[in-house]
Symmetry: C2
Subunit: 302 residues, 2 copies
């Protein structure tokens, strides 16, 4: 079950459409050129988590891509319409977990494309669909990860804005290929490294590591200067962790740092905090206590 | 006017659909992930140029992307249906240039995506639409080019297959961003360079250069080992040029080689042979005689 709502100037609350029917032009540059931007948010317990942050990053991605996208109000209205419709359908299909406010998790996707060539306007829509079971499973069991070279050095974002580093575009073929490569090679996920040996990010996640030193707990993530996406969950979690007494670090991170950390996680809006259990086939340190604490902090993010 | 034909197992000659109506699911990974492959061929004088080469490269791109795409027969049938339909519509709309066999040029696009997640099958279609006037104009007037860093070094393709170098995927957001960057900076097009200073390719073209030494004419293009796309027009032109007595070279090419060449072109299936008139704001050598000769050879390609 997927609910679909287009942003449409003639329908201020958004135009509900049938997601199981064809709704997009084959001439849309979203498909012909992967030319557009997107966000994936979690809908759970009756609320879309971190919607403000997702809307801000969508605007930032659009700006980096010279793309005009609808204003935040229009997105909020379409999201509200979409989740209300999703709740209605869940109520009708009726398992208790699926009911609004229940434990069921859904993915809210916001997509904005450059539209059909020459049309002069983009295409924008919101979908809501059940969260994949695999992500929830991996959140519990952890993931085995491969380091894969992303091909770029860690200074490329500063010198080459046309590479759209830091923009979450629809051109995700390489991200998907990296995940397939991992799955064909005994792993579940990927941590990209730069050609000059820095840790970057996962294909659909941000990398976090923790170190303990006596009572001091430190939470570290790679610096954005490497051109990685600013993680919304990482950002919100850092705020929570700081309040809870953690030290924070934004560093140049190298692979060895992950191998020596007390714990490593991949974090993303839908899968949330996912422990990394091995890298390149070698088990790494995990820490159930830290995972439980940080998962609790993430649960508290609105 | 665009003609659209889907490849559909239930319609051996392809399923004609209305390109002006929505025809694609918003859940198709072609749009949600830029996950698919494509080709653009030229339809002119009643024939689709180099169809064999385009079909071969489409299969190669698909293989690099772990993507199952329809067999060549199905593509050929859909292309035949699409151009026949295009000719019919051109006949009705009736300018002489648009008539089949006339001088009008059309773009035949072949696209295959990974389809909707979990559907287990891809989506594949062919469109035929009039060739953009800009390309034809640039073929005559030439283009001003900027060198832009592609971020990758020239050995990345060999060590990182997950980057899909050499596959023509739908994830073209960076290619489009580079072209916009050029247009915002007084140029028309781009030649990408590697981070270690090699000439790569244009965002939608292959780079050629020529040198004259007495009677000897040499035609050079960057080596495929850099991870660039194998250009179908470059490949066919090299065969023709060799027969016509040219020496050929596939080299590591550096920017200085282009600045010192007797002529530089961008070559692609639809825009054909396009002279480069300046690089980074500096005029470079052009050669009308060589351009005329090579254009003649390209015209002769079937």
């Amino acid at each position: 079950m997927t609910v679909l709502v287009f942003i449409d100037p003639s329908a201020p609350a958004g135009r509900v459409a049938d997601a199981s029917a064809p709704q997009l032009s084959v001439l849309d540059q979203g498909v012909t050129r992967g030319d557009g931007v997107f966000e994936s948010a979690l809908y759970k317990g009756g609320a879309v988590r971190k919607l403000d942050m997702h809307l801000a990053r969508l605007q930032s991605s659009a700006q980096l891509s010279d793309l005009e996208v609808p204003a935040e109000d229009a997105w909020r209205a379409a999201v509200a319409t979409a989740v209300a419709q999703y709740d209605d359908e869940a109520r009708r299909s009726a398992s208790a977990a699926d009911a609004p406010g229940g434990e069921a998790e859904a993915v809210v996707k916001l997509i904005a494309t450059r539209g059909s060539e020459g049309s002069g306007h983009g295409t924008s829509w919101v979908t809501v669909s059940p969260a994949p079971a695999l992500g929830r499973k991996q959140r519990e069991s952890g993931v085995r990860v491969l380091f894969l070279d992303r091909g770029y050095d860690s200074t490329v974002a500063e010198r080459a804005p046309w590479l759209l580093m830091g923009a979450k575009t629809l051109s995700y073929a390489v991200n998907m290929a990296a995940l397939r490569y991992a799955r064909s090679n005994g792993a579940d996920d990927v941590i990209f490294t730069s050609s000059d040996g820095r840790v970057l990010e996962g294909p659909t996640s941000t990398v976090l590591l923790a170190t303990r030193d006596g009572d001091e707990k430190r939470l570290i993530t790679p610096t954005l200067r490497t051109g990685i996406l600013p993680g919304t969950t990482q950002g919100a979690l850092f705020d929570q962790a700081e309040e809870a007494g953690w030290k924070l670090g934004y560093g140049p991170v190298v692979p060895q740092d992950l191998l020596e950390a007390d714990a490593v996680w991949l974090v993303s809006s839908v899968r949330l905090l996912t422990p990394v259990t091995s890298i390149d086939g070698e088990a790494i340190s995990t820490d159930g206590e830290l995972t439980a604490e940080l998962s609790g902090l993430i649960e508290a993010i609105e």
